[in-house]
Symmetry: D2
Subunit: 355 residues, 4 copies
Amino acid sequence: MQGTKNEGSIRVAVIGASGYTGAELLRILWEHPFFEVKIVTAMRYKGELVGNLYPSLGKYYPTEYSPYELDLVEEEADVVFLGVPHGEGMKYLPELASAGKKVVDLSADFRFADEQVYEGIYGKQHTATEYLGKIPYGLAELNRERIKKSSLVANPGCYATAALIGLFPAFESGIAGGAVMVDAKSGISGAGRELTLNTHFPQAADNFSAYAVARHRHQPEIECELGLLLGIPNPKVVMVPHLSPMNRGILCTTYVPLKEYPLTRGEIAELYEKAYGKENFIVLLGEGRYPETKSVQGTNDCHLAVEVSEDGEMLIVITAIDNLVKGAAGQAVQNMNLFCGLPEQTGLERPGLFR
Amino acid sequence: MQGTKNEGSIRVAVIGASGYTGAELLRILWEHPFFEVKIVTAMRYKGELVGNLYPSLGKYYPTEYSPYELDLVEEEADVVFLGVPHGEGMKYLPELASAGKKVVDLSADFRFADEQVYEGIYGKQHTATEYLGKIPYGLAELNRERIKKSSLVANPGCYATAALIGLFPAFESGIAGGAVMVDAKSGISGAGRELTLNTHFPQAADNFSAYAVARHRHQPEIECELGLLLGIPNPKVVMVPHLSPMNRGILCTTYVPLKEYPLTRGEIAELYEKAYGKENFIVLLGEGRYPETKSVQGTNDCHLAVEVSEDGEMLIVITAIDNLVKGAAGQAVQNMNLFCGLPEQTGLERPGLFR
Amino acid sequence: MQGTKNEGSIRVAVIGASGYTGAELLRILWEHPFFEVKIVTAMRYKGELVGNLYPSLGKYYPTEYSPYELDLVEEEADVVFLGVPHGEGMKYLPELASAGKKVVDLSADFRFADEQVYEGIYGKQHTATEYLGKIPYGLAELNRERIKKSSLVANPGCYATAALIGLFPAFESGIAGGAVMVDAKSGISGAGRELTLNTHFPQAADNFSAYAVARHRHQPEIECELGLLLGIPNPKVVMVPHLSPMNRGILCTTYVPLKEYPLTRGEIAELYEKAYGKENFIVLLGEGRYPETKSVQGTNDCHLAVEVSEDGEMLIVITAIDNLVKGAAGQAVQNMNLFCGLPEQTGLERPGLFR
Amino acid sequence: MQGTKNEGSIRVAVIGASGYTGAELLRILWEHPFFEVKIVTAMRYKGELVGNLYPSLGKYYPTEYSPYELDLVEEEADVVFLGVPHGEGMKYLPELASAGKKVVDLSADFRFADEQVYEGIYGKQHTATEYLGKIPYGLAELNRERIKKSSLVANPGCYATAALIGLFPAFESGIAGGAVMVDAKSGISGAGRELTLNTHFPQAADNFSAYAVARHRHQPEIECELGLLLGIPNPKVVMVPHLSPMNRGILCTTYVPLKEYPLTRGEIAELYEKAYGKENFIVLLGEGRYPETKSVQGTNDCHLAVEVSEDGEMLIVITAIDNLVKGAAGQAVQNMNLFCGLPEQTGLERPGLFR
């Protein structure tokens, strides 16, 4: 589709490519030196040109959306990205796994080990329970070794990504104590391409609102992973998501009561430096500098700053990501790179569009 | 200036009318049935037409900014709004008070009872210390009786207004325990009319950022008033302000650990209903509805919702105001109404501009 | 609904009050000293609180949308605003007219004298042809005397309002020659409350696009009125509408080839001064100042500037209005004021929300 | 700076790299397979980290801005981009040219052949008149052969780029007759990084305005190039620029009276297909599809649509570019590719950031 790249390039299928996450996968994969998109499916838009939905992609993908056909994927693709809605990842993943494909599932279907938890949150019966608990959670910075050994991964939720990156060193080092507050702000693209009143321009523009207060699906996802990845018993997270009048970006302000205090900003910064200093996609900001979503727009980076309250009792961690990249498509490619034995950052390193 | 209104109308001077707060005062006062603007000053713009700075005001104020002259104010105005920068309220207020004028000071100069606290925060020596502690804090919903008896008032900061309205019933009723987190988001007009890189369109648009993390000047203002108005000893507030890419509006998400728990949303809603049910400018939202800044745009209203975490241990209060109205000019007029024995809402009741 | 206003106030029905135009009528009418809203209908939302759709209106209209019932309107309303879609004005107007009501129809149904023209443009058969050509076009600045004598009016389209105000003096004075270009830019609220991909925030924000190039319905409306109001034979207008990423506002840049040239800006400004100098809602900007939509936001004003090309052969007229006010609801109230013998500006004079 | 790229890579100096154009050059050059940035200068910010001004670039350019030193450039760079203000290109270009460097000047200093024209427009005396008329105008699609043979180029203005691409085939084919109207809309980044009231967020956001009506500097630039490139005698262009509340993008709607008419859209589309069908960076949109700025965001592409008025007498051409890419930095790299014998699109081919 994009012309032959390097010899021996890895053939890719993007299943569910008409939504914003799917379109972002196409954008990112086009620049990848080894992945070559061969199959682009979208049930609702089969026969429609990709460029009609996304004029910016038309020049690079002069092709039509096709319907999903297992045979075709088996034959023409080595690896698969599932950009499908929640509840559909579990339909596709088993048969693709059986066919020996490496699969990154961007739906929520395999993020929870416990089917009842999943069903409680997503209101759907899980139909591929044999995979639950066996597919690693795809946040490479926290779970790299397990991902590397797998060929299937549950790509994290966008808010969960931003929150967990912020919280991880505080919990891992044991300085966190008590319930954690995650105050999360997202650009409107996070709500997807479906038309809703909340994402109608005259409602959303020049407006800031809270929603799903302390009841968002990513709240238990964060709690669950603090438990699974770090062995924290009964972690408590109170998350309030908000819509901010911008296209892309998540900024998470997390408030972490310290177990022993006071601590200084310097002491905490050191812990974070230790945890993330060598991470390629995490940029630790120095004292007095705080993240902004624009600085990570279009990139797989997470900008992170730590601060403490004046009394040294409360840690504040602020993270900024692009919800469609590190929070979805970019992280998916990062995971697939790990599956394929490629350097993790392959195809993901370039400056973002600041202004 | 605006033609004679009702007979016996009250003559108003707006000192410092070229900034956004001053312009908003002019907008609101034009509609007031009893206040009649007689003097409009702005040092930097003297001789310039109001309509050159604010084309929307040109038709209604076909006049020039004049320099401040005490004599003129003494003679031609009954009441005075000080829309001046921090550090200048203390220059004007004493002489205006001596001249018997009623004064609403929108600067921060008289918000603190203790000159050292003021000087620590604002970095300026206080030159009117004899007034400190004697001028009521102008948040009518929390301090109405003292305001009514006064003729001078310190108009609250915008973030402090939104946070204190949210926190008050929780502290007054005694359910609040421990440090409170105030996660505040403001539209860019909150930064004023001064040109800065942070408020330059290509930096601020489509961007969301944190600043002054746990170090903003309104944080001690909130703590101070929780102490002064409610007698809370050593209240602790951790506030993180953010810039959201919109013109107007503040949304505060406050996290209040409960002293005794669990409490239900219903129990808490009742406390808030008791505190605010009769307040004209506070709109309590029902279950499942949350504030958005657009709904209060251009109005003196505060929309408020309460929610609890699933375990019933953490209260979340969300408030939305227009930073230039309830957070500044509207609240100033509300206070002046109280001084003048007018119904508090006079000139302040009208639907906002939703879209 | 809004409490009794002045004695002898005029009772109003707003038919079709759930769209943006209807909501704007409610906002404006609440402030009107003589109109009192008694009936608020919306088929789709009957039984739903107005405040659920428009939280900013909830405090002022604590009522539910009701279905339309002629009997009720006959009994409880003196005047009627039709905020209904194109094709529905012709259903309601005849029976309301027969019942002796004054009616402002905000749909396009009675803007054309010729049913075939209407049907060609709107693709609907006209079912009230007996009224065609008998209902004045409701642009008071151009057609005041006819409106005053009527009790029915066809409220103009938003683009047509901005364009015609700009073009009128040039055609009336005879300086215009040849085809006129109307380059029009609108905020997204102009597309209404219906959800579409073009008005989905992630598509519309930070984006600027052209649509319906030289084929928009308001193009023949402008041509038609240049003919009807001014007797211009076969006026030619080429209009290109655009969507600008903002809520409200229309800015029209019109290019008018001059018949005899060169003319100076001063000469042309004089013609416009003569035409509009006494108009309450038209603000003529001086040399070197150009309109911006924000200055008229929330108001019934039209800001207007004229300029000529350096060779003096091409006139450029720029007009800015709020599409929901002067382009719809405000102009509707202006017309109803004329019907009711009230000063035209009653209830419509107040500074807009600049920032 | 960015690590060694391919062997034999071409060493680049970016002079004046702190403005938006300079930053965009850094962004684009980082991805270029053969250009390697060696020198990054900015007088005002010498010693400051690039990442402090542009956090998105910090990871890729962990370096400080340096002052300009000819010696250093001579020694360490093969080619030079001048991202300097108007009036400074003429200071740097001569000595760099003498030193044998290939230079793309992004200032306006060498866009005009006639020093008096330049001085009339830019109000500065030209100090390198010996180069005037000898440096090709860098719009490759219209002037490729001359650029290829040169090693110096005057990079076009952003509006001029969008307008000339739209106008060229109409003039070249001889169908254009009479004065042309260019109605241009630009994102705010076009005004640069300098702080001004017009680009202050609370003024610019949610606002649309006209400026420099029929007097913008790019108007004579367009006229001049229609003459130079096509030999049109005395071409007349009336241009009205506007500010649209978005970061990036220019959309030009040009109105071209046809010399002989009527023509159909199909006939005109054929002419444009002939002119641009093989151009890599020009995307011709099919019938009924019109450009939007978002589709070209971050890319060097120009989307173009043609339409005719219903009477077939007026051609409308609509073009959309990213003002910072095709309108500045991207086009500059395209020109440098031509100088260096590289395929024109090297380093410039990738899908833009749509949402």
